[in-house]
Symmetry: C2
Subunit: 416 residues, 2 copies
Amino acid sequence: MDFNDIFSRVKSASREILTLTDGERSAVLLTLADRLEAERESLLAANAHDLERMDEANPLCDRLRLTPERISAIAADIRNVAGLHCPLGEEVEHRTLPNGIDLRRVRVPYGVIGVIYEARPNVTFDVFSLCFKSGNACLLKGGRDAEFSNDAAIAIIHDSLRRHGICTDAVCLLPSTHEATAALLGAVGYVDLCIPRGGRKLIDFVRDNARVPVIETGAGVVSTYFDGAADLAIGRAIVDNAKTRRVSVCNALDTLLVDSSRLGDLPALVEPLAEKQVEIHADRRALAVLEGHYPAGLLVAADEDSDWDTEWMALRMGIRTVDGVDEAIAHINRHGSGHSECIVTEDDAVAARFQELVDAACVYVNAPTSFTDGAQFGLGAEIGISTQKLGPRGPMGLREITTTRYLLKGHGQTRP
Amino acid sequence: MDFNDIFSRVKSASREILTLTDGERSAVLLTLADRLEAERESLLAANAHDLERMDEANPLCDRLRLTPERISAIAADIRNVAGLHCPLGEEVEHRTLPNGIDLRRVRVPYGVIGVIYEARPNVTFDVFSLCFKSGNACLLKGGRDAEFSNDAAIAIIHDSLRRHGICTDAVCLLPSTHEATAALLGAVGYVDLCIPRGGRKLIDFVRDNARVPVIETGAGVVSTYFDGAADLAIGRAIVDNAKTRRVSVCNALDTLLVDSSRLGDLPALVEPLAEKQVEIHADRRALAVLEGHYPAGLLVAADEDSDWDTEWMALRMGIRTVDGVDEAIAHINRHGSGHSECIVTEDDAVAARFQELVDAACVYVNAPTSFTDGAQFGLGAEIGISTQKLGPRGPMGLREITTTRYLLKGHGQTRP
């Protein structure tokens, strides 16, 4: 397969869609939402084909499965994106240099965004609508498990583009092969940004092999520190919400850090987790306090070599005892993944120190990490949550998949 | 050599300098400027040692050479950086979410910045002062040619840090070996950003081999398009300034694109270049017009396979004839490096089209690309000029080597 030919066609299309208005881009998305609902049965049939190939016991089945309700939800998401404010053309800066040159910095699309993802066919619609609304073409590389679903999805998207007379190269679904991944990661000059959406293994592979710029997203080893000056009721609510609201999301709590002066409150702090069957991996000091106060079958001695680095993605949580906020900060900066971290405290000075020294995209005081989310942050939609420092950090909406360009205007000034 | 031990000490130091005030950081830089002048002779002696090892005919000699004047200029630059506005702590955003959570996005340092550069000992002071002022620790990997100079430079920097009681791990000069480069590029978890400063080969090597986030800087294949509606006097001044002000800088003009309707003006347009001995590589149509009007010894038929992709870095320039602005835009988007591009025109609609469709960090109308520079843009100083779209784009000052962090404050709200 001639990947360079594909990449070059998508690059050309990225220039073509630059000249569309926001209204024209939104109209395509509204057509897409309608076509998706009209083509529901063909999409479900393709998805059934994928599901047949997967072992029913495979936990990925749930992610792969489309239902009439899920399709309606995807269509609603597309209509939502169509209605969002478009950040293109925004003036980030505008000033006149001393020599009279007019300098503006304006928001423009990246050009071509590559996204590598796993067995979630909804991502195909999701990524296309966010990229297209923000003026970007995209190269998609989905999982092999979702091949039939993704082919059906891209056919619906291409049909919608065609109905508006727009070149279908504005989005291209690559074959789900390793060759395609390798070509995408090496497409210097064609791909302006690559975003992996998936588990730790995929993210590490992309970061380690890409020659094009990458934003790492989604890996979340998340802690909450219950400080000496914490309010118990607030702590209970936060730990419960952050751990059990949804265990499979990246903002879910993995490690509870407890100040040693508050070990006496630990049984009450984690009590709401018992009825939800959360298995606790506690260090020696925490274990001693919890024994007899937490269901024995859910209490495990922590493996201090690995538990603190684990993103559980399950009804499991580590507990580690620390002596004060500085030990909590040191733990987080060593074991965290730079996603979201939280302190529960009524002491403003301690809260300020925690927020200054913890190195993560989102640092919370007295609020659970479950809020780290594009919609919760008011971004309208989200393509991922960046855990690196180069480029956007934290939840990424439309604005975060654009870049800027300096536009300068003079009348023949020259530089001495 | 145990690189992980070095990296981990620099990471720790990056956390220590987080707690310094801007005044404390600036005081270190003022001390450094003083110490640099006081230690001038020892630095010159070390530099002489490096120069002895280099063939005098090597064009790198000029970059490597320090003189009393150059050292005074470096000290002045350091004092200038000390006095710049510090972007740390700036609120990029501040709002209250509907649930009452207070959300702020504030400017924070990256943490550890790695810089790989060639035989320019001034870069050692330059990079350290910009990184330190913006709260970042740095890992420096200089060229083997400048080994003695860089060792002397780092000793002066470490001495200045020590005089203020600050851990010298805030800056570490790595050995100038391939092993050190490989370790730096693979230092995931330790290095938050890597910036190569040097020629195309170095930049490509870093981009192709890094596992840590990279900003590509400095490569500039730069064009100026002389439109059908261009003013000849403005065009003459711009082409002359962009090509001959300094030929070895990345914003220097490489290819002049001429609208075919203005070929008759070409001899007058390039006339100022003749006396400066600029060799012109012209396409067939331009060559026909120039013959007899430009010194024959300076006129060459362009090699259309390679000349348009060449960053000349010399008194050489390509000329290509195009039919209209769209052909100029297509040429630039195919051959440019995303640095700086210019159109000369009196037609506002054509200018707007050029600025909308040319994909570069800086797009000029009626002003020469020689203005692409941190100081000219009012940034005070510059660590490089980014030619990629992820992260800062164009000239990078202090603000561009910081990132942001979301700080959220609630009172026990939970997410439904």
